[in-house]
Amino acid sequence: MLQARQLHFHYGRKIILAGVDLDLAPGELVCLLGSNGAGKSTLLRLLLGLIKPSVGEVLLAGRPIGAFTRRAVATQIAYVPQGHAAPFPYTVREVVLLGRLPSGSLFRAPGAEDHAHVTEVLARMGISRLADRPYTEVSGGERQLALIARALAQGARLLIMDEPGNGLDFGHQLRLLDCLLELSEAGFGILMTTHNPAHVVMGSNRVVVLENGAITADGAAAQVLTPAAVAALYRIDPERLTQDPLSGTISVRAKPRMNDAHAH
Protein backbone atom coordinates (compact mmCIF):
# COMPACT_ATOMS: atom_id res chain seq x y z
CA MET A 1 0.00 0.00 0.00
CA LEU A 2 2.90 2.34 0.80
CA GLN A 3 5.98 1.92 -1.33
CA ALA A 4 9.31 3.70 -1.36
CA ARG A 5 11.15 3.46 -4.68
CA GLN A 6 14.88 4.20 -4.81
CA LEU A 7 14.74 7.03 -2.29
CA HIS A 8 17.77 9.29 -2.16
CA PHE A 9 17.98 12.23 0.18
CA HIS A 10 20.73 14.68 1.03
CA TYR A 11 21.11 17.89 3.03
CA GLY A 12 23.60 19.93 1.05
CA ARG A 13 26.48 17.54 0.48
CA LYS A 14 25.61 15.21 3.33
CA ILE A 15 23.95 12.09 2.00
CA ILE A 16 21.29 10.78 4.37
CA LEU A 17 19.62 8.10 2.27
CA ALA A 18 21.03 6.39 -0.80
CA GLY A 19 18.57 4.25 -2.70
CA VAL A 20 16.04 2.91 -0.23
CA ASP A 21 13.28 0.52 -1.35
CA LEU A 22 10.60 -0.35 1.16
CA ASP A 23 7.04 -1.65 1.11
CA LEU A 24 4.45 -1.49 3.84
CA ALA A 25 1.19 -3.43 3.56
CA PRO A 26 -1.88 -3.51 5.83
CA GLY A 27 -1.59 -6.15 8.53
CA GLU A 28 2.17 -5.92 8.76
CA LEU A 29 4.15 -4.91 11.84
CA VAL A 30 7.54 -3.81 10.61
CA CYS A 31 10.41 -2.80 12.86
CA LEU A 32 12.97 -0.38 11.49
CA LEU A 33 16.32 -0.83 13.21
CA GLY A 34 19.33 1.36 12.79
CA SER A 35 21.97 3.11 14.82
CA ASN A 36 21.77 6.82 15.59
CA GLY A 37 22.18 8.85 12.43
CA ALA A 38 21.39 5.95 10.10
CA GLY A 39 18.60 7.98 8.50
CA LYS A 40 15.57 6.44 10.22
CA SER A 41 13.81 9.71 11.00
CA THR A 42 14.44 11.04 7.50
CA LEU A 43 12.97 7.86 6.03
CA LEU A 44 9.86 8.22 8.20
CA ARG A 45 9.39 11.83 7.17
CA LEU A 46 9.77 10.88 3.50
CA LEU A 47 7.22 8.09 3.85
CA LEU A 48 4.77 10.53 5.44
CA GLY A 49 5.26 12.96 2.58
CA LEU A 50 6.54 15.64 4.98
CA ILE A 51 9.68 16.16 2.90
CA LYS A 52 10.45 15.42 -0.75
CA PRO A 53 13.16 12.97 -1.77
CA SER A 54 16.09 14.28 -3.83
CA VAL A 55 15.62 11.31 -6.15
CA GLY A 56 13.05 8.52 -6.19
CA GLU A 57 9.43 8.52 -5.13
CA VAL A 58 6.98 7.40 -2.48
CA LEU A 59 3.84 5.71 -3.78
CA LEU A 60 0.60 5.54 -1.84
CA ALA A 61 -1.90 3.05 -3.27
CA GLY A 62 0.15 3.11 -6.47
CA ARG A 63 0.13 6.89 -6.94
CA PRO A 64 2.89 9.35 -6.01
CA ILE A 65 2.21 10.67 -2.50
CA GLY A 66 2.66 14.22 -3.77
CA ALA A 67 -0.41 13.76 -6.00
CA PHE A 68 -2.63 13.54 -2.91
CA THR A 69 -3.65 16.54 -0.87
CA ARG A 70 -2.15 16.60 2.60
CA ARG A 71 -5.53 15.90 4.07
CA ALA A 72 -6.11 12.90 1.79
CA VAL A 73 -2.75 11.51 2.89
CA ALA A 74 -3.71 12.07 6.53
CA THR A 75 -6.79 9.88 6.20
CA GLN A 76 -4.57 6.99 5.04
CA ILE A 77 -1.27 7.37 6.89
CA ALA A 78 -0.95 8.58 10.46
CA TYR A 79 2.19 9.77 12.21
CA VAL A 80 2.54 8.65 15.81
CA PRO A 81 5.37 10.63 17.41
CA GLN A 82 6.92 9.87 20.78
CA GLY A 83 4.70 10.79 23.72
CA HIS A 84 5.86 14.38 23.93
CA ALA A 85 4.93 17.21 26.26
CA ALA A 86 2.42 19.61 24.72
CA PRO A 87 2.97 23.29 25.55
CA PHE A 88 -0.63 23.66 26.76
CA PRO A 89 -2.62 21.29 29.01
CA TYR A 90 -5.00 19.95 26.38
CA THR A 91 -7.21 17.14 27.60
CA VAL A 92 -6.56 13.67 26.20
CA ARG A 93 -9.89 13.96 24.37
CA GLU A 94 -8.82 17.21 22.71
CA VAL A 95 -5.57 15.63 21.55
CA VAL A 96 -7.44 12.66 20.06
CA LEU A 97 -10.01 15.00 18.54
CA LEU A 98 -7.23 16.48 16.41
CA GLY A 99 -7.33 13.19 14.51
CA ARG A 100 -10.70 14.27 13.10
CA LEU A 101 -9.12 17.32 11.46
CA PRO A 102 -8.33 15.72 8.09
CA SER A 103 -11.94 14.61 7.61
CA GLY A 104 -13.39 17.93 8.80
CA SER A 105 -12.76 21.58 8.12
CA LEU A 106 -9.93 23.81 9.33
CA PHE A 107 -12.42 26.53 10.14
CA ARG A 108 -15.26 24.60 11.73
CA ALA A 109 -15.50 23.26 15.24
CA PRO A 110 -15.70 19.46 15.48
CA GLY A 111 -19.26 18.19 15.49
CA ALA A 112 -21.22 15.56 17.39
CA GLU A 113 -20.11 12.85 14.95
CA ASP A 114 -16.47 13.65 15.60
CA HIS A 115 -17.04 13.44 19.35
CA ALA A 116 -18.81 10.10 19.01
CA HIS A 117 -15.94 8.76 16.90
CA VAL A 118 -13.39 9.91 19.46
CA THR A 119 -15.35 8.36 22.34
CA GLU A 120 -15.30 5.06 20.46
CA VAL A 121 -11.58 5.20 19.74
CA LEU A 122 -10.76 6.07 23.35
CA ALA A 123 -12.77 3.04 24.48
CA ARG A 124 -10.99 0.84 21.96
CA MET A 125 -7.61 1.88 23.33
CA GLY A 126 -8.85 1.41 26.89
CA ILE A 127 -8.22 5.03 27.90
CA SER A 128 -11.80 6.29 28.21
CA ARG A 129 -11.28 7.23 31.82
CA LEU A 130 -8.39 9.51 30.81
CA ALA A 131 -10.53 11.48 28.35
CA ASP A 132 -10.87 14.59 30.47
CA ARG A 133 -7.44 14.44 32.13
CA PRO A 134 -4.83 16.92 30.92
CA TYR A 135 -2.53 15.26 28.40
CA THR A 136 0.41 16.91 30.18
CA GLU A 137 -0.40 15.08 33.43
CA VAL A 138 -0.84 11.47 32.26
CA SER A 139 2.10 9.06 32.11
CA GLY A 140 4.35 8.56 29.10
CA GLY A 141 2.68 5.26 28.25
CA GLU A 142 -0.75 6.82 28.41
CA ARG A 143 0.37 9.67 26.17
CA GLN A 144 1.60 7.13 23.66
CA LEU A 145 -1.80 5.40 23.75
CA ALA A 146 -3.53 8.75 23.25
CA LEU A 147 -1.38 9.43 20.19
CA ILE A 148 -2.22 5.98 18.79
CA ALA A 149 -5.89 6.72 19.46
CA ARG A 150 -5.47 9.96 17.53
CA ALA A 151 -4.05 7.97 14.61
CA LEU A 152 -7.07 5.66 14.71
CA ALA A 153 -9.37 8.70 14.84
CA GLN A 154 -7.77 9.84 11.59
CA GLY A 155 -9.13 6.70 9.98
CA ALA A 156 -5.66 5.84 8.72
CA ARG A 157 -4.79 2.22 7.94
CA LEU A 158 -1.05 2.80 8.10
CA LEU A 159 0.73 3.98 11.25
CA ILE A 160 4.23 5.40 11.12
CA MET A 161 5.66 5.37 14.64
CA ASP A 162 8.82 7.01 15.89
CA GLU A 163 10.35 4.95 18.70
CA PRO A 164 7.08 4.28 20.48
CA GLY A 165 8.69 2.44 23.38
CA ASN A 166 11.15 5.19 24.15
CA GLY A 167 11.07 6.35 27.75
CA LEU A 168 8.53 3.75 28.85
CA ASP A 169 9.19 1.34 31.67
CA PHE A 170 9.35 -2.40 30.98
CA GLY A 171 5.68 -3.08 31.75
CA HIS A 172 4.43 -0.21 29.62
CA GLN A 173 6.66 -1.30 26.75
CA LEU A 174 5.20 -4.79 26.88
CA ARG A 175 1.63 -3.58 26.94
CA LEU A 176 2.36 -1.18 24.09
CA LEU A 177 3.79 -3.99 21.97
CA ASP A 178 0.74 -6.14 22.71
CA CYS A 179 -1.45 -3.29 21.57
CA LEU A 180 0.53 -2.86 18.33
CA LEU A 181 0.33 -6.59 17.63
CA GLU A 182 -3.42 -6.53 18.04
CA LEU A 183 -3.70 -3.54 15.75
CA SER A 184 -1.68 -5.28 13.06
CA GLU A 185 -3.82 -8.38 13.43
CA ALA A 186 -6.85 -6.13 12.99
CA GLY A 187 -5.43 -5.08 9.62
CA PHE A 188 -3.39 -1.97 10.41
CA GLY A 189 0.00 -1.65 8.76
CA ILE A 190 2.58 -0.40 11.27
CA LEU A 191 6.12 0.76 10.68
CA MET A 192 7.98 1.58 13.87
CA THR A 193 11.54 2.58 14.55
CA THR A 194 13.14 1.13 17.63
CA HIS A 195 16.48 0.99 19.34
CA ASN A 196 15.65 -2.16 21.20
CA PRO A 197 16.19 -5.51 19.45
CA ALA A 198 13.99 -7.10 22.12
CA HIS A 199 10.95 -5.29 20.70
CA VAL A 200 11.61 -6.91 17.37
CA VAL A 201 11.76 -10.42 18.68
CA MET A 202 8.61 -10.06 20.73
CA GLY A 203 6.54 -8.05 18.33
CA SER A 204 7.10 -7.76 14.69
CA ASN A 205 6.92 -10.25 11.89
CA ARG A 206 9.36 -8.28 9.78
CA VAL A 207 12.56 -6.39 10.43
CA VAL A 208 14.22 -3.81 8.26
CA VAL A 209 17.78 -2.74 9.03
CA LEU A 210 18.95 0.67 7.90
CA GLU A 211 22.68 1.34 7.89
CA ASN A 212 24.39 4.46 6.55
CA GLY A 213 21.36 5.43 4.51
CA ALA A 214 20.80 2.05 2.86
CA ILE A 215 18.76 -1.00 3.75
CA THR A 216 21.08 -3.89 4.55
CA ALA A 217 18.52 -6.47 5.64
CA ASP A 218 14.77 -6.91 5.25
CA GLY A 219 13.05 -10.09 6.34
CA ALA A 220 11.66 -12.21 9.12
CA ALA A 221 13.02 -11.37 12.56
CA ALA A 222 14.53 -14.80 13.11
CA GLN A 223 16.68 -14.57 9.98
CA VAL A 224 17.68 -10.95 10.24
CA LEU A 225 18.40 -10.61 13.92
CA THR A 226 21.36 -12.86 14.51
CA PRO A 227 23.85 -11.94 17.23
CA ALA A 228 26.41 -11.23 14.52
CA ALA A 229 24.07 -8.82 12.73
CA VAL A 230 23.10 -7.00 15.92
CA ALA A 231 26.74 -6.74 16.97
CA ALA A 232 27.71 -5.30 13.60
CA LEU A 233 24.78 -2.87 13.57
CA TYR A 234 25.49 -1.35 16.97
CA ARG A 235 29.28 -1.87 16.86
CA ILE A 236 29.56 -4.14 19.88
CA ASP A 237 31.73 -7.17 20.49
CA PRO A 238 29.82 -10.24 19.08
CA GLU A 239 31.33 -12.37 21.86
CA ARG A 240 29.11 -10.56 24.33
CA LEU A 241 25.82 -11.44 22.64
CA THR A 242 24.00 -14.72 23.02
CA GLN A 243 20.72 -15.82 21.51
CA ASP A 244 18.16 -17.97 23.24
CA PRO A 245 17.51 -20.75 20.70
CA LEU A 246 13.82 -21.07 21.63
CA SER A 247 12.57 -17.50 21.83
CA GLY A 248 15.22 -15.89 19.65
CA THR A 249 15.84 -13.30 22.34
CA ILE A 250 19.26 -11.74 22.26
CA SER A 251 20.88 -11.02 25.59
CA VAL A 252 24.04 -9.19 26.49
CA ARG A 253 26.76 -10.07 28.97
CA ALA A 254 28.44 -7.39 31.04
CA LYS A 255 31.83 -6.17 29.89
CA PRO A 256 34.56 -8.48 31.20
CA ARG A 257 36.49 -6.66 33.92
CA MET A 258 40.27 -6.21 33.93
CA ASN A 259 40.47 -7.56 37.49
CA ASP A 260 39.04 -10.91 36.42
CA ALA A 261 42.09 -11.61 34.30
CA HIS A 262 44.43 -11.09 37.26
CA ALA A 263 42.40 -13.29 39.56
CA HIS A 264 42.94 -16.39 37.45
Partner: protein, 353 residues
Protein backbone atom coordinates in the same frame (compact mmCIF):
# COMPACT_ATOMS: atom_id res chain seq x y z
CA UNK B 1 -7.30 -3.85 23.42
CA UNK B 2 -4.68 -4.39 26.07
CA UNK B 3 -4.45 -1.74 28.70
CA UNK B 4 -1.29 0.08 29.50
CA UNK B 5 -2.69 1.24 32.75
CA UNK B 6 -3.24 -1.10 35.57
CA UNK B 7 -6.73 -0.27 36.73
CA UNK B 8 -9.03 -2.99 35.48
CA UNK B 9 -12.39 -1.45 36.19
CA UNK B 10 -12.69 1.23 33.60
CA UNK B 11 -15.77 3.20 34.24
CA UNK B 12 -16.83 5.27 31.25
CA UNK B 13 -16.53 8.94 32.10
CA UNK B 14 -19.71 10.95 32.20
CA UNK B 15 -20.33 12.07 28.63
CA UNK B 16 -19.01 15.60 28.54
CA UNK B 17 -19.73 17.04 25.14
CA UNK B 18 -17.46 19.83 24.04
CA UNK B 19 -19.97 22.17 22.48
CA UNK B 20 -17.96 24.00 19.87
CA UNK B 21 -19.39 27.47 20.01
CA UNK B 22 -21.37 27.66 23.19
CA UNK B 23 -18.94 30.10 24.78
CA UNK B 24 -19.15 33.19 22.61
CA UNK B 25 -22.90 33.47 23.23
CA UNK B 26 -22.82 34.40 26.92
CA UNK B 27 -19.49 36.20 26.48
CA UNK B 28 -20.90 38.40 23.71
CA UNK B 29 -23.77 39.28 26.04
CA UNK B 30 -21.22 40.21 28.69
CA UNK B 31 -19.42 42.42 26.17
CA UNK B 32 -22.71 44.13 25.34
CA UNK B 33 -23.44 44.64 29.03
CA UNK B 34 -19.96 46.05 29.63
CA UNK B 35 -20.42 48.45 26.70
CA UNK B 36 -23.72 49.59 28.14
CA UNK B 37 -22.14 50.24 31.54
CA UNK B 38 -19.21 52.04 29.92
CA UNK B 39 -21.65 54.28 28.05
CA UNK B 40 -23.52 55.01 31.28
CA UNK B 41 -20.69 55.76 33.68
CA UNK B 42 -18.46 58.78 33.50
CA UNK B 43 -18.07 62.28 34.83
CA UNK B 44 -21.79 62.73 34.26
CA UNK B 45 -23.26 59.38 35.31
CA UNK B 46 -26.40 58.02 33.68
CA UNK B 47 -28.52 55.05 34.59
CA UNK B 48 -27.95 52.19 32.13
CA UNK B 49 -31.70 52.26 31.48
CA UNK B 50 -31.36 55.84 30.28
CA UNK B 51 -28.79 54.75 27.73
CA UNK B 52 -31.19 52.09 26.49
CA UNK B 53 -34.00 54.65 26.38
CA UNK B 54 -31.81 57.02 24.39
CA UNK B 55 -31.02 54.37 21.79
CA UNK B 56 -34.69 53.43 21.56
CA UNK B 57 -35.59 57.09 21.05
CA UNK B 58 -32.80 57.60 18.52
CA UNK B 59 -34.08 54.57 16.64
CA UNK B 60 -37.58 56.00 16.65
CA UNK B 61 -39.04 53.34 18.92
CA UNK B 62 -39.74 55.63 21.87
CA UNK B 63 -40.44 59.26 22.67
CA UNK B 64 -37.96 61.52 24.44
CA UNK B 65 -37.87 65.20 25.29
CA UNK B 66 -35.79 66.80 22.46
CA UNK B 67 -33.55 68.77 24.85
CA UNK B 68 -32.80 65.72 26.91
CA UNK B 69 -32.17 63.71 23.77
CA UNK B 70 -29.71 66.32 22.46
CA UNK B 71 -27.82 66.23 25.75
CA UNK B 72 -27.72 62.45 25.78
CA UNK B 73 -26.67 62.39 22.14
CA UNK B 74 -23.72 64.60 22.95
CA UNK B 75 -22.81 62.55 25.99
CA UNK B 76 -23.35 59.06 24.63
CA UNK B 77 -22.66 59.26 20.91
CA UNK B 78 -20.16 62.12 20.65
CA UNK B 79 -18.14 61.61 23.82
CA UNK B 80 -18.42 58.06 25.06
CA UNK B 81 -19.30 55.86 22.08
CA UNK B 82 -16.02 56.40 20.18
CA UNK B 83 -13.86 55.30 23.08
CA UNK B 84 -16.17 52.42 23.96
CA UNK B 85 -15.98 51.11 20.40
CA UNK B 86 -12.23 51.70 20.33
CA UNK B 87 -11.81 49.82 23.62
CA UNK B 88 -13.75 46.86 22.23
CA UNK B 89 -11.79 46.73 18.97
CA UNK B 90 -8.37 47.26 20.55
CA UNK B 91 -8.98 44.88 23.46
CA UNK B 92 -10.39 42.12 21.27
CA UNK B 93 -7.68 42.61 18.67
CA UNK B 94 -4.73 42.50 21.04
CA UNK B 95 -6.13 39.58 23.05
CA UNK B 96 -6.94 37.35 20.08
CA UNK B 97 -3.59 38.18 18.45
CA UNK B 98 -1.81 37.21 21.65
CA UNK B 99 -3.72 33.95 22.00
CA UNK B 100 -3.05 33.00 18.37
CA UNK B 101 0.66 33.87 18.72
CA UNK B 102 0.94 31.72 21.84
CA UNK B 103 -0.18 28.69 19.86
CA UNK B 104 1.82 29.47 16.74
CA UNK B 105 5.01 29.90 18.79
CA UNK B 106 4.08 27.09 21.20
CA UNK B 107 4.88 29.33 24.13
CA UNK B 108 2.47 30.67 26.73
CA UNK B 109 4.67 33.73 27.40
CA UNK B 110 4.43 35.20 23.94
CA UNK B 111 2.59 38.48 23.31
CA UNK B 112 1.50 40.16 20.06
CA UNK B 113 4.60 42.36 20.04
CA UNK B 114 6.90 39.36 19.61
CA UNK B 115 7.80 40.05 16.00
CA UNK B 116 8.32 43.78 16.52
CA UNK B 117 4.95 45.10 15.36
CA UNK B 118 4.39 47.28 18.43
CA UNK B 119 7.91 48.70 18.39
CA UNK B 120 7.57 49.44 14.70
CA UNK B 121 4.14 51.01 15.06
CA UNK B 122 5.34 53.13 18.01
CA UNK B 123 8.26 54.41 15.95
CA UNK B 124 5.87 55.03 13.06
CA UNK B 125 3.45 57.00 15.22
CA UNK B 126 6.31 59.10 16.57
CA UNK B 127 7.63 59.71 13.09
CA UNK B 128 4.18 60.74 11.93
CA UNK B 129 3.93 63.28 14.77
CA UNK B 130 7.42 64.56 14.04
CA UNK B 131 6.74 65.13 10.36
CA UNK B 132 3.20 66.38 10.46
CA UNK B 133 0.52 67.47 12.85
CA UNK B 134 -1.96 65.61 10.75
CA UNK B 135 -3.76 62.84 12.58
CA UNK B 136 -4.12 60.49 9.66
CA UNK B 137 -0.44 60.83 8.75
CA UNK B 138 0.38 59.53 12.23
CA UNK B 139 -2.11 56.67 11.88
CA UNK B 140 -0.81 55.68 8.48
CA UNK B 141 2.83 55.87 9.58
CA UNK B 142 2.09 53.77 12.67
CA UNK B 143 0.40 51.09 10.60
CA UNK B 144 3.03 51.11 7.85
CA UNK B 145 6.02 50.89 10.20
CA UNK B 146 4.34 48.21 12.31
CA UNK B 147 3.97 46.07 9.21
CA UNK B 148 7.50 46.99 8.09
CA UNK B 149 8.96 45.90 11.43
CA UNK B 150 7.38 42.46 11.11
CA UNK B 151 8.59 42.35 7.52
CA UNK B 152 12.16 42.95 8.74
CA UNK B 153 11.80 40.25 11.43
CA UNK B 154 10.34 37.67 9.07
CA UNK B 155 12.91 38.62 6.42
CA UNK B 156 15.77 37.96 8.84
CA UNK B 157 14.19 34.60 9.71
CA UNK B 158 13.86 33.77 6.01
CA UNK B 159 17.60 34.28 5.55
CA UNK B 160 18.19 31.44 8.00
CA UNK B 161 15.44 29.07 6.98
CA UNK B 162 12.12 30.02 8.57
CA UNK B 163 12.41 28.07 11.81
CA UNK B 164 10.42 29.22 14.83
CA UNK B 165 13.56 30.15 16.76
CA UNK B 166 14.76 32.25 13.84
CA UNK B 167 11.40 34.02 13.70
CA UNK B 168 11.68 34.89 17.39
CA UNK B 169 15.26 36.09 16.99
CA UNK B 170 14.32 38.05 13.88
CA UNK B 171 11.53 39.68 15.90
CA UNK B 172 13.94 40.58 18.71
CA UNK B 173 16.37 42.15 16.25
CA UNK B 174 13.63 44.02 14.44
CA UNK B 175 12.08 45.16 17.74
CA UNK B 176 15.45 46.54 18.91
CA UNK B 177 16.02 48.29 15.60
CA UNK B 178 12.67 50.05 15.72
CA UNK B 179 13.04 50.89 19.41
CA UNK B 180 16.32 52.59 18.50
CA UNK B 181 14.58 54.45 15.70
CA UNK B 182 11.92 55.56 18.19
CA UNK B 183 14.61 56.87 20.54
CA UNK B 184 16.20 58.76 17.68
CA UNK B 185 12.87 60.34 16.77
CA UNK B 186 12.26 61.34 20.38
CA UNK B 187 15.73 62.87 20.50
CA UNK B 188 15.05 64.88 17.36
CA UNK B 189 11.56 65.96 18.42
CA UNK B 190 10.83 69.46 19.65
CA UNK B 191 10.93 69.03 23.44
CA UNK B 192 8.13 71.49 24.17
CA UNK B 193 5.36 70.31 21.89
CA UNK B 194 6.19 67.17 19.96
CA UNK B 195 8.03 65.18 22.59
CA UNK B 196 5.26 65.31 25.22
CA UNK B 197 2.72 64.40 22.55
CA UNK B 198 4.79 61.39 21.52
CA UNK B 199 5.36 60.27 25.09
CA UNK B 200 1.66 60.54 25.97
CA UNK B 201 0.66 58.68 22.83
CA UNK B 202 3.01 55.84 23.69
CA UNK B 203 1.34 55.50 27.10
CA UNK B 204 -1.84 54.65 25.27
CA UNK B 205 -5.07 56.56 25.15
CA UNK B 206 -8.54 56.04 23.83
CA UNK B 207 -9.32 59.73 24.20
CA UNK B 208 -8.35 60.64 20.64
CA UNK B 209 -10.61 58.05 19.03
CA UNK B 210 -13.23 59.55 16.73
CA UNK B 211 -16.14 57.82 15.10
CA UNK B 212 -14.73 58.57 11.66
CA UNK B 213 -11.38 56.84 12.45
CA UNK B 214 -13.13 53.92 13.99
CA UNK B 215 -15.38 53.53 10.97
CA UNK B 216 -12.32 53.38 8.76
CA UNK B 217 -10.29 51.01 10.92
CA UNK B 218 -13.09 48.79 12.19
CA UNK B 219 -13.57 46.78 9.03
CA UNK B 220 -9.98 45.53 8.60
CA UNK B 221 -9.69 44.99 12.36
CA UNK B 222 -12.91 42.99 12.56
CA UNK B 223 -11.92 40.91 9.54
CA UNK B 224 -8.58 40.16 11.16
CA UNK B 225 -10.15 39.35 14.53
CA UNK B 226 -12.77 37.02 13.05
CA UNK B 227 -10.16 35.32 10.85
CA UNK B 228 -7.89 34.68 13.84
CA UNK B 229 -10.79 33.54 16.04
CA UNK B 230 -11.89 31.01 13.42
CA UNK B 231 -8.53 29.24 13.15
CA UNK B 232 -8.88 27.31 16.42
CA UNK B 233 -8.56 23.76 15.15
CA UNK B 234 -5.59 24.50 12.93
CA UNK B 235 -3.83 26.27 15.82
CA UNK B 236 -4.43 23.32 18.14
CA UNK B 237 -2.65 21.14 15.59
CA UNK B 238 0.17 23.69 15.21
CA UNK B 239 0.73 23.70 18.97
CA UNK B 240 1.68 20.00 18.68
CA UNK B 241 4.60 20.69 16.36
CA UNK B 242 5.13 21.20 12.63
CA UNK B 243 5.52 17.59 11.54
CA UNK B 244 2.52 16.42 13.51
CA UNK B 245 0.35 19.25 12.22
CA UNK B 246 1.38 18.51 8.63
CA UNK B 247 0.71 14.82 9.15
CA UNK B 248 -2.77 15.82 10.34
CA UNK B 249 -3.34 17.55 7.01
CA UNK B 250 -2.78 21.15 8.16
CA UNK B 251 -0.96 23.50 5.75
CA UNK B 252 1.45 24.62 8.48
CA UNK B 253 3.35 27.35 6.66
CA UNK B 254 0.19 28.94 5.27
CA UNK B 255 -1.53 28.93 8.67
CA UNK B 256 1.56 30.29 10.46
CA UNK B 257 2.09 33.19 8.06
CA UNK B 258 -1.64 33.77 7.82
CA UNK B 259 -1.77 34.22 11.59
CA UNK B 260 1.31 36.44 11.57
CA UNK B 261 -0.17 38.60 8.79
CA UNK B 262 -3.59 38.95 10.46
CA UNK B 263 -2.16 39.58 13.94
CA UNK B 264 0.25 42.16 12.51
CA UNK B 265 -2.57 43.95 10.70
CA UNK B 266 -4.73 44.02 13.81
CA UNK B 267 -1.95 44.96 16.26
CA UNK B 268 -0.58 47.74 14.05
CA UNK B 269 -4.08 49.20 13.72
CA UNK B 270 -4.55 49.16 17.50
CA UNK B 271 -1.52 51.45 17.75
CA UNK B 272 -3.01 53.73 15.09
CA UNK B 273 -6.18 53.94 17.14
CA UNK B 274 -4.95 54.10 20.71
CA UNK B 275 -1.17 54.10 21.03
CA UNK B 276 0.66 51.39 22.93
CA UNK B 277 -1.50 49.43 25.38
CA UNK B 278 0.52 46.72 27.05
CA UNK B 279 -0.36 43.51 28.85
CA UNK B 280 -3.70 42.83 27.17
CA UNK B 281 -2.24 40.43 24.61
CA UNK B 282 -0.31 38.46 27.21
CA UNK B 283 -2.68 38.53 30.16
CA UNK B 284 -6.13 38.05 28.63
CA UNK B 285 -5.41 34.73 26.84
CA UNK B 286 -4.30 33.29 30.19
CA UNK B 287 -7.47 34.43 31.93
CA UNK B 288 -9.49 33.00 29.03
CA UNK B 289 -7.59 29.71 29.28
CA UNK B 290 -8.67 29.40 32.91
CA UNK B 291 -12.27 29.66 31.70
CA UNK B 292 -12.25 27.54 28.56
CA UNK B 293 -9.19 25.32 28.79
CA UNK B 294 -6.47 25.44 26.15
CA UNK B 295 -8.56 24.31 23.15
CA UNK B 296 -8.31 27.16 20.67
CA UNK B 297 -11.76 26.63 19.17
CA UNK B 298 -13.22 28.14 22.33
CA UNK B 299 -10.16 29.98 23.59
CA UNK B 300 -9.77 32.38 20.66
CA UNK B 301 -13.34 33.78 20.63
CA UNK B 302 -13.32 33.87 24.44
CA UNK B 303 -10.02 35.81 24.41
CA UNK B 304 -11.48 38.35 21.99
CA UNK B 305 -14.54 38.89 24.21
CA UNK B 306 -12.57 39.06 27.44
CA UNK B 307 -10.05 41.42 25.86
CA UNK B 308 -12.87 43.80 24.99
CA UNK B 309 -14.29 43.57 28.52
CA UNK B 310 -10.87 44.04 30.11
CA UNK B 311 -10.14 47.16 28.11
CA UNK B 312 -13.61 48.62 28.80
CA UNK B 313 -12.89 48.12 32.49
CA UNK B 314 -9.42 49.64 32.21
CA UNK B 315 -10.80 52.62 30.29
CA UNK B 316 -13.52 53.08 32.89
CA UNK B 317 -10.82 53.30 35.54
CA UNK B 318 -8.61 55.53 33.38
CA UNK B 319 -11.27 58.19 32.94
CA UNK B 320 -13.16 57.96 36.25
CA UNK B 321 -10.51 57.42 38.90
CA UNK B 322 -9.19 60.96 39.11
CA UNK B 323 -9.94 64.48 37.87
CA UNK B 324 -7.52 64.14 34.98
CA UNK B 325 -7.51 61.11 32.80
CA UNK B 326 -4.80 58.51 33.42
CA UNK B 327 -3.22 57.04 30.26
CA UNK B 328 -4.86 53.65 29.75
CA UNK B 329 -1.55 51.89 29.11
CA UNK B 330 -0.58 52.68 32.71
CA UNK B 331 -3.91 51.34 33.96
CA UNK B 332 -3.59 48.06 32.03
CA UNK B 333 -0.12 47.59 33.42
CA UNK B 334 -1.16 48.31 36.99
CA UNK B 335 -4.21 46.07 36.65
CA UNK B 336 -2.35 43.49 34.63
CA UNK B 337 0.46 42.72 37.02
CA UNK B 338 -1.63 41.49 39.97
CA UNK B 339 -4.02 39.73 37.59
CA UNK B 340 -1.11 37.98 35.91
CA UNK B 341 0.32 36.89 39.26
CA UNK B 342 -3.07 35.36 40.09
CA UNK B 343 -3.18 33.57 36.75
CA UNK B 344 0.35 32.27 37.19
CA UNK B 345 -0.62 30.95 40.57
CA UNK B 346 -3.51 29.03 39.04
CA UNK B 347 -1.81 27.96 35.82
CA UNK B 348 1.74 27.08 36.77
CA UNK B 349 0.85 23.49 37.55
CA UNK B 350 0.07 22.76 33.93
CA UNK B 351 3.32 24.28 32.72
CA UNK B 352 5.59 22.11 34.77
CA UNK B 353 6.17 19.31 32.29
Amino acid sequence: MPRLTRSSAEALPPPRPLPGFSWPGPLLLMVAAAMLLALAYGRYPLAPSEVVQYFLAAGGFAEMEPERQALLHNLIVDIRLPRVLAAVLVGAGLAVSGAAFQSVFRNPLVSPGLLGVLAGAAAGAALGMLLSGNWWVMQLAAFAMGVAAVGVGVGIAALFGHSLVMLVLGGIISGSLFTAILSLIKYLADPYNQLPAIVYWLMGSLAMAELGDIGRLAVPMLVGIVFLASLGRALDALAMGDDEARALGVPVTAVRYGVIAAATLVSALTVSLSGIIGWVGLLVPHVARLLTGPGNVRLLPASACLGAIFLLLADGIARNLSETEIPIGIVTELLGIPAFLLVLHRARRSWVT
